[in-house]
Structure formats: structure tokens, C-alpha cells
């Protein structure tokens, strides 16, 4: 088997020198490279293939994937749309646009893409997983990004006793409604992000069979973020990046307990 493969590769190498590459071969090879994480080489082959066959749907789909892999969202979106122009029900292009809509927090646009992808391909596992996740979201904010008003008891920062070393913190309801925020970030933006992290992390944990989200830690170059949640509330507290994890967890627990107490909830 190994010898045959070697001979086949040698033959391919010889013949590739004497005949021009065809788009199908280029795209097939690009897809293999992509699956090996060789995105730069794959992108070169896709560009070469699309020069030979500018309307090729496979080429545009691969191009979209590679733009996403490089985190180039605008070009990825255009490429997925090109695929849909030729095939309006292409499940992978619809899934790609649904993911982009999710990133853009445009849930109103995300759901129809997923529904359409599953209309003809009901056993499409990735689309089904995202559809199930999004279906459970009760939006306080709505697709236009309008924040819902918090109607519970008002909180006072001095009673919550946030740690002096902490930078900012935010408390939100599970539907995204901002309860309280403290620090120099916009509270509504912070609440929207924290809610999204909570929702997607919860879905990921459930999918891995691990249960409901309770705690989280996100480490970045200049800050470390601590999450605490139950089924109704989410707290995020940020510290400088060099905070000791044990200290951060302890302070987050204190702030969590104080917040629940002030809201009249049991831990």
C-alpha cells in the first residue's frame, strides 16, 4: 500500500509538470491541506483554482472556510453568499453564515440560516447543535441590541464589597438583562458578551456531558476574568493578568455571595 502510494505521488509529480492543473484537482488538494491545518498552502491553491474557474462553488466554499480560519469575517461572508447564489440551500454555506451572524450577535438572521440548512439536511450535526443552542435563548435584548431594563432590587456597590484589586465586574441575568456593572467598560456591552460566553459555554459543557456551567476563568495578556453562575445569574469579575488564581476565585466567590444576598437569593 505504501509503495503504491509512493508511486502514485511520483506519477502525480511527473504528470503535473507536463499538464496544467485543473480546478477540481487544485480544490481537492486544497481541502486536504486545510484539513491538515495548512491554511496558507490551501489558500494559494484555492486562489489558483478560482482564477481558472471563477464561478466554482467548491472553490468559493473553500475560500470562505479559509477566510474564517484566518478570522477574515467580511471576505468569508461574501464567499458564502457567492455559494448561495448558485445553490440557495447549500447547507455548509448556510451554516457558515449562521456562525457569522452569531458572532455579530444578529440572532434574528442566525436562526433562519440554520432552519434552512436543516430543511433538506435534517441530520447535519453541527447545524443541529447550533440550532438547539440558539433555540433555548430567551433574548432580553432582541436582535436590534436594545437592552431590557432590570426590574429587581437596586444594588449598591459598597454593599457588594468588590475587591480593591479587581478592575471591573458585571452581573447579568441569564437572558442578558444587565443587573449591575462597575468599572470603566460599558455595562450593556459587557453584559452582552458575558451572556454570550455563558450561553455558549453552557451548551458546550452540556454537549460534552459535563453538566451546567458554574465557574469560568479566561486568561488574556493583560487581564484574567473570573465567571460564576447559576441558572439565573452570571457574574464576571476582572483582575490584572498576574492575579493568583486562588485569590481570584476566592474574591469572585465573595462578590457572588454578596450579590445573591443583596438580591435576596439563596446561594
Amino acid at each position: 500500500m505504501g509503495l503504491l502510494r509512493l508511486l502514485s505521488r511520483i506519477w502525480d509529480a511527473i504528470t503535473s509538470l507536463t499538464r496544467p492543473p485543473n480546478p477540481a484537482t487544485l480544490f481537492r488538494r486544497a481541502d486536504l491541506y486545510r484539513q491538515e491545518g495548512r491554511f496558507e498552502e490551501a489558500a494559494e491553491l484555492v486562489a489558483q483554482g478560482l482564477r481558472l474557474s471563477p464561478n466554482n462553488g467548491v472553490g468559493h466554499l473553500l475560500s470562505a472556510y479559509l477566510h474564517l480560519a484566518f478570522r477574515q469575517i467580511g471576505p468569508a461572508k461574501s464567499e458564502f453568499q457567492s455559494v448561495l447564489q448558485a445553490d440557495p440551500y447549500h447547507p455548509r454555506a448556510l451554516l457558515g453564515l449562521a456562525k457569522i451572524a452569531l458572532e455579530e450577535r444578529d440572532f434574528g438572521a442566525c436562526r433562519p440560516f440554520l432552519d434552512k440548512a436543516l430543511q433538506y439536511y435534517p441530520d447535519f450535526p453541527e447545524a443541529r447543535a447550533l440550532q438547539e443552542m440558539v433555540a433555548g435563548w430567551v433574548t432580553a435584548a432582541g436582535s436590534a441590541g436594545q437592552a431590557a431594563a432590570y426590574a429587581g432590587p437596586a444594588l449598591q456597590v459598597e454593599k457588594l464589597k468588590p475587591p480593591a484589586a479587581g478592575r471591573e465586574f458585571v452581573l447579568t441575568q441569564a437572558d442578558g438583562t444587565l443587573v449591575f456593572s462597575h468599572g470603566d467598560k460599558d455595562g450593556v456591552d459587557l453584559a452582552a458578551h458575558v451572556t454570550q460566553v455563558y450561553r455558549i459555554a453552557s451548551a458546550t459543557l452540556q454537549r460534552a456531558g459535563l453538566g451546567a456551567l458554574r465557574r469560568g476563568i479566561v486568561q488574556a495578556a493583560t487581564e484574567t476574568l473570573f465567571f460564576r453562575s447559576n441558572d439565573r445569574l452570571i457574574l464576571e469579575l476582572s483582575f490584572p493578568h498576574d492575579v493568583k488564581i486562588g485569590f481570584g476565585l476566592l474574591e469572585t466567590d465573595k462578590l457572588w455571595t454578596n450579590s445573591l444576598r443583596e438580591l435576596g437569593m439563596r446561594a
Binding site: 491545518g37 457558515g96 447543535a129 456531558g209 459535563l210
Partner: protein, 142 residues
């Protein structure tokens, strides 16, 4: 049906991903892991029986992207590593140029040890793409 099944990968880089994953899986109480591109493509995976890889990869990539995009929106620095714990275990997530490294640990997993091993794995991936990150020699130095 899945409209586009994955094909086996065979390059040196693909082998490196599988080696990284194998190292993570050697850690006590680690149940599985995957390397997933930002678009949700599974590059390497080993998950416990009964857990479907593609849906988990799609969700993990979505989570990774929200952490990246959210940090950007809030003018924070990009996330490097994250963990999310539930009653029965923890999902670890590391960001790299190729996408995300995901590790699944049960509720008894040594979180510090996995975080350190994940940082090492990410540094290896960074090295394959450009400049490697510095990682402490021992987990307790983190």
C-alpha cells in the same frame, strides 16, 4: 447525513496536532480533546464514546470565537486560554493561529496541570506558525 465528511489527514503538521492531543490525553482524568479550526473544522480529535465530535467542535469553535470577538469589542487583549467548569467536569480551551485546542476533564482533573500542559501545547502551535510563547517549566510556576 453530514454534508461534507472529514478525510484523514497525513502531513507532518497533522501529526503534530495528533501528538499534542495525545500528550494532553496522558494527563490523569482528561477524558478527551480536539483541535478545531476557527470555522469549526475538526483537525484532530479523541473524545469519549457517546460524544459526537462535530457538534462539540462547532460549539467549541463558536465559544472560542465569542471570546476573541468579545475581547476585541470590549478593547481587551485577545484571550489565550480559558476554562469552564460544571458539576461533572471542565472544558479547557486554548487559542492558537490554527484555531482552538479543546480538552475535556472530569470533575477530579488537576486544573493547574491541564492549564500548564495546554499552554505548552499552544506554545508548540505558535512555534509552528511563528514566534513561540514562553511557558513556565513547571505547573506550579504558572
Amino acid at each position: 447525513m453530514s454534508p461534507e465528511p472529514n478525510l484523514p489527514a497525513g502531513s507532518a503538521r497533522a501529526r503534530a496536532f495528533r501528538r499534542i492531543l495525545a500528550e494532553m490525553l496522558k494527563i490523569d482524568r482528561v477524558r478527551g480533546g480536539l483541535v478545531v479550526a476557527a470555522d469549526g473544522l475538526v483537525i484532530a480529535a479523541s473524545v469519549p464514546r457517546g460524544i459526537a465530535v462535530e457538534p462539540l467542535a462547532a460549539l467549541a469553535a463558536t465559544l472560542g470565537r465569542e471570546l476573541e470577538v468579545g475581547a476585541d469589542r470590549l478593547k481587551r487583549t485577545p484571550f489565550q486560554a480559558a476554562l469552564f467548569s460544571a458539576d461533572n467536569g471542565t472544558v479547557f480551551l486554548g487559542s492558537s493561529p490554527v484555531g482552538f485546542v479543546v480538552v475535556l476533564g472530569d470533575k477530579e482533573v488537576n486544573i493547574g496541570l491541564v492549564q500548564w500542559a495546554l499552554r505548552k501545547a499552544l506554545a508548540t502551535l505558535e512555534g509552528a506558525w511563528g514566534s513561540p510563547a514562553n511557558v513556565p517549566e513547571r505547573p506550579e510556576d504558572m
